[in-house]
């Protein structure tokens, strides 16, 4: 049976798929940016100013502060099966095409055995998915959830949650700039050593956004915006502010060639403007999610985001770059053309994932984040009670 949204958090699922659509758009545009299209670079900077923090905020919105009575090992097993197992599966899935198209993987020379050794070690020991870059989020959210498991006994009051959120943001920001030895991108260089980074550096900032989501829910923030007029009003105000603010974030970024927030590389730029644009943009998407929460199609896609999310790697690694190189001479650096190209390519890519999503849901639900489901091939990996 296909999973679908429950009424209570239907808008979260819809917001999630809207965020994923933004991610597809961002990755399509990134390839165009790499061909030298300056307009695409501005679109990229705009999307990246908030789209990844959105996923952390949405996860936090669904998080609980109640203490878990089931114990550490069960929790770890559940999270590993629903985060790390799909990470491993989608890495395996995208590793196979590299045997035919070896030149398409980032930072790896896959014409040699050394290249594969480095890629596999970085993926499974370093915790950075070299064969499927977008899935870094699965590792990061896994670490964030472990942090939350450890910290939630201290989140007894709203003040303590806000306090932890602010302090961990400061620690995350300072570490992102000064603790570069913890940055998993160190592995990408020709002399990069493989160490168990596991996105720990970015998990600190991610956890701050996660706690912000928790605070939003605790405050009942969206209850103040129940009418459509208020929702549209808030969404446009937030979007206007993001448009106004995103390019004011001029760094300093830790990646010199990316003048934009890149959470995968812990490059945030200005530590004050970054969270402001991230929060405003995320609220705008969440409001859009509320406005569109009646859509059955979006609900269906929103309840199956893990597969759509992870399959973005296929386009990121194999089709976006060649397509961008092909279209580049014909595409003017005009905002509308770039936007239409981005929407068409990302929409098509997203549509192509739906058959795979249906097959995965039907045959191997245990491997795509639902370990407690009985399937036709594999048994349930986790007792539902746990």
């Amino acid at each position: 049976m296909m999973p679908h949204s429950t009424n209570r958090f239907r808008f979260i699922d819809v917001s999630r798929i809207l965020g994923i659509a933004l991610m597809y758009y961002g990755h399509t545009i990134e390839s165009l940016m790499k061909t030298g299209n300056e307009t695409a670079a501005m679109h990229y900077k705009f999307i990246y100013s908030f789209h990844m923090p959105l996923f952390f905020i949405l996860s936090g919105y669904l998080a609980s502060t109640a203490l878990d009575s089931k114990g550490w090992s069960l929790f770890l097993r559940k999270q590993a099966l629903s985060r790390l197992l799909p990470y491993a599966m989608f890495t395996g899935l995208l590793l196979l095409p590299t045997l035919i198209f070896p030149s398409q993987s980032v930072g790896l020379d896959l014409t040699t055995v050394d290249g594969y050794t480095k890629g596999l070690l970085a993926t499974f020991v370093g915790g950075f998915p070299m064969f499927n870059i977008p899935t870094w989020f699965l590792i990061c959210i896994f670490v964030v959830e472990l942090l939350h498991y450890g910290c939630r006994r201290f989140l007894l009051t709203r003040i303590s949650t806000v306090g932890l959120c602010l302090s961990i943001y400061v620690v995350g920001s300072v570490s992102a700039w000064y603790a570069t030895w913890l940055n998993p991108l160190n592995m990408l260089g020709p002399n990069g050593l493989i160490l168990p980074y596991f996105m720990l550096l970015e998990a600190l900032t991610g956890y701050a956004f996660y706690l912000f989501g928790l605070i939003l829910k605790d405050l009942g923030f969206f209850r103040h915006f129940e009418t459509t007029v208020r929702q549209f009003g808030l969404m446009f105000v937030c979007l206007f502010l993001v448009v106004y603010l995103y390019d004011l974030n001029q760094g300093m970024f830790t990646l010199p060639t990316y003048d934009a927030v890149v959470m995968a590389g812990s490059s945030h730029g200005n530590p004050i403007l970054f969270p402001i644009t991230a929060i405003l943009g995320s609220i705008a998407v969440m409001i859009a999610g509320r406005l569109l929460s009646g859509s059955q199609v979006l609900q269906f896609l929103g309840a199956n985001t893990l597969v759509i999310f992870a399959l973005n790697g296929a386009f990121y690694h194999f089709t976006n770059d060649p397509l961008a190189r092909w279209i580049h001479p014909y595409l003017a650096a005009d905002g509308i053309f770039v936007f239409v190209y981005g929407v068409l390519v990302s929409g098509l890519s997203l549509g192509l994932t739906i058959p795979v999503l249906i097959v995965c849901n039907r045959w191997i639900p245990q491997l795509i984040g639902r370990p407690g489901t009985e399937g036709p091939i594999l048994p349930r990996l986790l007792d539902n009670a746990s």
Partner: protein
């Protein structure tokens, strides 16, 4: 499970030891395309280096560029090594983001010409040189031998990427410089 863990840890140790041991060995690989800020300066490289350093610092502040390494790019190694020539033209280069579309109000000076350009995908041979600049020729000889042994040919620029240099480190023995030649496979030349 234990077997997989043993293979994983064994592979990790082996890979890291190998990488650590080979960090000063030459290699051939491909640089990804990027946008660059280029300062063309004519003069004695002993002095133009300082001019480039100061200019990058000032321009970086004006354009709000994030910190980055920079390099000196020459037409060929000979133009770098010829100390009798007091007026070598050098392109000092640093990567910049794609969003940087113009240099704004920054203008050329009598000695420095600035421009933005794109560097395409480039195949290079590279060696990490540790020590003073005076010992670079020995490393160049080693790099050239390596290029020939890998059936490649020098075809294009010679570049020095300054990782650790005098502005950061007093002791020349601790300087680190990446030495690069643009190369292409010999078979490609024969096929032309």
């Amino acid at each position: 499970m234990v077997g997989i863990a043993v293979i994983g840890v064994g592979g990790l140790i082996h890979y890291n030891l190998n990488t650590y041991r080979n960090q000063y060995e030459p290699r051939i690989y491909t640089l990804m395309p990027t946008k660059e800020l280029v300062l063309t300066i004519e003069g004695n490289p002993e002095y133009t280096f300082d001019t480039a350093l100061l200019t990058f610092h000032s321009v970086g502040r004006l354009l709000k560029l994030s910190p980055s390494y920079f390099s000196g790019r020459y037409d060929d190694w000979e133009s770098r090594s010829d100390r009798s020539n007091q007026s070598t033209t050098v392109d000092y280069v640093r990567p910049v983001p794609e969003t940087l579309s113009s240099l704004g109000t920054i203008r050329d000076t009598d000695t420095v010409t600035l421009r933005l350009q794109r560097r395409d995908k480039t195949r290079i041979a590279e060696l990490r040189h540790q020590g003073p600049y005076a010992s670079i020729p020995e490393s160049i000889l080693r790099l050239k031998q390596f290029i020939a042994s890998r059936d490649h040919d020098i075809h294009g620029f010679y570049e020095e990427v300054y990782l650790i240099f005098e502005a950061m480190e007093q002791d020349p023995l601790k300087f680190e410089t990446l030495l690069r030649f643009e190369v292409r496979p010999t078979s490609k030349i024969a096929g032309e």
